[in-house]
Amino acid sequence: MSKIFAVAGVVFMELYRRKDFYVLFILTALITVVLGAVGDQQAVGYLKEICLLLIWVSSLVIAITTAARQIPAERESRTIFPLLAKPVSRAQVLLGKFAGCWLASGVALLVFYIFFGLVAASREHELHLELYAQAVWLHWQALGIVTALTLLGSLVLSAPAPNITIVFIISVGCLYVSRYLHLVAARMTEPGQTITGVIYYTVPQLWFFDQRALVIHNWPAIAWIWVGLATVYGALYSGFFLFAACLIFRRKALN
């Protein structure tokens, strides 16, 4: 476990030396503040909506781009060889990379949500702490799935760019479209109906983790039991993708 955390620590430090997070955070803050200043002073929903959308986009960009570069960058610079020469298995390297990316995304997410909380509280004069905590937690679980999927993609696809593009499209699809696939399937003919039905039941339903509608409209917090179950659901998908990635990485030629 300590070996995994040692690798994760390096990844974590690397992300915060890069400028991606700072640029995205400043951009999000700037757009939100400008819209808040020029927009309707009575309404707050539109501001929360735009801010949360920017947070989701930024967090996906951070998680996907960070995870997609890990293994290819190590292979390209050949630092993977001295790393694997140490008493550390390939699975531990991969899990360390995942943990680092996921933790770094989580810290970035926390900063984003603190900013969001301040913006919302400045307009609403109240803080829905429990709901926001659930939103951050579930959002982080979604990023865990996406990070694991990206690491898997980085081992299957030859370069980071196609991997980033494909994972981004899959993530957006799982967020916005996957929940309706059964309705789409119901109107299709065979074999399209079965294929769409299978996709519906197999893809990770990332919209479980998207609490934006509840946060924007100030709905009460959901029962923690459902948050727990969603966490288990997310962990299963992350575990599946990581397991598949470990299997591929174990047999992959690195030179």
């Binding site: 339903q205 919209w207 409209h217």
Partner: protein, 275 residues
């Protein structure tokens, strides 16, 4: 010497460029002024697509986030209109029971169906979206009517509703629907009978101008205008005019019997007054 020449050359280039760009910028500024703001000029015709999206967003805000997607709307019964005789945001179609475990599980993470939140609609929150929608598509009459309904009936902001209507009438001078709502504000909120009458009569005139020739005219609007004018004239004891308007309303009404009885009562009143 060479540096000075270069500077002069650059100055000349800047001046030439300015004389070339300035007329174009002025023309662009004129275009954007006539077409609305920068957003309208930038998006052009595609603005209508975004306008529809923002109108749907406003509707979603009215229902506190519980709003069916295009996939669900296709799979569920057609939504029925909001409060009768108004332009309230449409009532949501009945929600089907979750058909899969994914839907059942996911329902815990989404806003509950409309029956669970009674009358706590987010009217105030809809306004930024309606404003955006109207800026992008200033010819969408339905969006004006719904925005005015929310402002006037839900938020009690009659003056702001009038401003929205005036903007709408400026963009759509022939719209009898907008004139009808402006008349309502004069009649019910300002109690300015003379102006309400003028505006409604203009609305009736605009209706005749546009709808009479159509195979399926918008009789619902004519009924609303004529009925309001009838009520206005009756309240002013102008029974002859009231009878005329009620007769027009009766001809297009779905329940003419009730109006017929009312017309008979007014005729009796008029006769009594004559004697």
């Amino acid at each position: 010497m060479r540096d000075r020449l270069l500077l002069l050359l650059l100055l000349a280039a800047c001046f030439t460029l300015a004389t070339e760009i300035e007329p174009r910028l002025s023309a662009y500024a004129r275009d954007t002024r006539s077409g609305g703001d920068f957003l309208t000029a930038f998006l052009g015709e595609s603005g209508r697509l975004f306008a529809n999206h923002f109108a749907a967003k406003a509707d979603a805000y009215y229902h506190r986030g519980n709003y069916p997607s295009i996939f669900e709307l296709g799979a569920r019964p057609t939504p029925h209109p909001g409060e009768e005789g108004t332009n309230a945001p449409a009532e949501l179609p009945a929600t089907n029971a979750p058909s899969t475990w994914i839907e059942r599980f996911g329902s815990h993470f989404t806003p509950p169906p409309p029956k669970d939140f009674g009358t706590t609609n987010d009217s105030e929150e809809t306004l930024p979206w309606y404003r955006l929608s109207l800026e992008l598509d200033p010819h969408n009459i339905q969006n004006y009517c719904t925005a005015v309904f929310v402002l006037r009936n839900k938020l009690g902001k009659s003056a702001e509703a009038e401003r929205v209507l005036r903007d709408g009438i400026r963009e759509n001078p022939n719209s009898y629907e907008l004139l009808y709502y402006l008349g309502l504000i004069y009649y019910e909120d300002r109690h300015d009978i003379a102006r309400a009458r003028n505006v409604w009569e203009l609305a009736a005139y605009r209706w005749r101008e546009q709808e009479v020739k159509k195979p399926h005219p918008d009789v619902e609007s004519l009924w609303q205008i004529a009925d309001q004018l009838g009520n206005l004239e009756e309240s002013q004891h102008n029974y002859a005019d009231a009878i005329t308007w009620f007769q027009i309303a009766r001809n297009v009404s779905r329940t003419p019997q009730a109006l017929e009885q009312h017309i008979d009562a007014l005729k009796a009143e008029l006769n009594a007054k004559g004697k």
